[in-house]
């Protein structure tokens, strides 16, 4: 069975402005339709940026800016 390959979201994302929990439009790009955080392979982030992304999404979820499950 052929493996379905997904394309990364953007390229060189680490050059983007600093990740912030208030920037919902930006964070929303890194969520699946079900509200899950996409993997590093998909987000194209380095380890540190992926951790920052995870933290920002979790902060936004805590403040009900983003859903836990969509």
């Amino acid at each position: 069975m052929p493996i379905k390959k997904t394309l990364p979201i953007g390229s060189n994302n680490c050059d983007d402005p600093k990740i912030n929990y208030k920037d919902l439009e930006y964070l929303g790009k890194f969520l699946t339709p079900q509200g899950q955080i996409v993997s590093r392979r998909r987000s194209n982030f380095c380890t540190q940026c992926q951790k920052e992304l995870k933290q920002a999404i979790k902060r936004a979820r805590h403040l009900a800016l983003l859903p836990f499950v969509a």
Binding site: Y21, K22, R59, H62, L63, A64, L65, L66, P67, A70
Partner: protein
């Protein structure tokens, strides 16, 4: 010497709707009570929540930058926990206050600036309505496809049934036509029987 914090506080819309200044004072008074120095304080947004909090579908987000002396953080958190007007809060330690924040906050502090009253709570947030609509349209599409497939299968069955009926009706006629051809004529049959019974073939004789 204290630490600068960024505080995002969710306020109950019922309090905000009554009076924004009072709602703002609830937070700022609590901060000053615990010896915080407020740098900026403004309404960040009023929006539908991604999920209901304490029965509220909408809330007002209050953003503030303040400096808090060391050791007062826990007391402030406890005070906000006990405040019914505060639905939720998030404090983050930051290095400095952003430059644009002071402009935005000063614009709101202007007496001419008015904050619109938030709308009443709807049955559910719009985000959930959109998701529900998408799911329902997907279900409807699947249902339509299934119905179309069923209708096609029923048509095929009906056509095959019609074909079989027409074949069964056509068969007796063909059999009737073909039967006399297959059967030998009575005169020929008699000739063959006599030839075989005598045991003499025409060539032999």
């Amino acid at each position: 010497m204290g630490q600068i914090y960024e505080g995002m506080i969710l306020l109950d819309n019922n309090v905000v709707r009554a009076d924004w200044r009072k709602a703002k004072a609830i937070v700022t008074d609590t901060l000053t009570k615990y010896e915080a120095t407020i740098h900026t304080a403004r309404r960040w947004d009023e929006r539908a929540l991604a999920y209901p909090i304490k029965g509220n579908q909408r809330a007002t987000y209050f953003l503030s930058y303040f400096e808090l002396p060391n050791g007062h953080s826990d007391e402030l958190r406890r005070a906000l926990d006990l405040n019914a007007s505060v639905l939720r809060y998030l404090f983050l330690a930051v290095d400095e206050v952003p430059e644009e924040e002071s402009d935005l906050a000063s614009a709101e502090d202007d007496s001419a600036h008015t904050v619109d009253a938030p709308p009443a709570d709807g049955p559910r947030p719009t985000a959930f309505d959109e998701i529900d609509e998408a799911r329902e349209s997907e279900r409807q599409r699947v249902r339509d496809e299934e119905d179309a497939a069923k209708a096609a299968a029923a048509e095929r069955d009906a056509e095959s049934a019609e074909k079989s009926d027409s074949d069964s009706e056509a068969k007796p006629d063909s059999e009737a036509d073909s039967a006399p051809e297959s059967e030998p004529k009575p005169e020929e049959a008699a000739a063959t029987t006599t030839a075989t019974s005598d045991g003499d073939s025409p060539q032999e004789s």
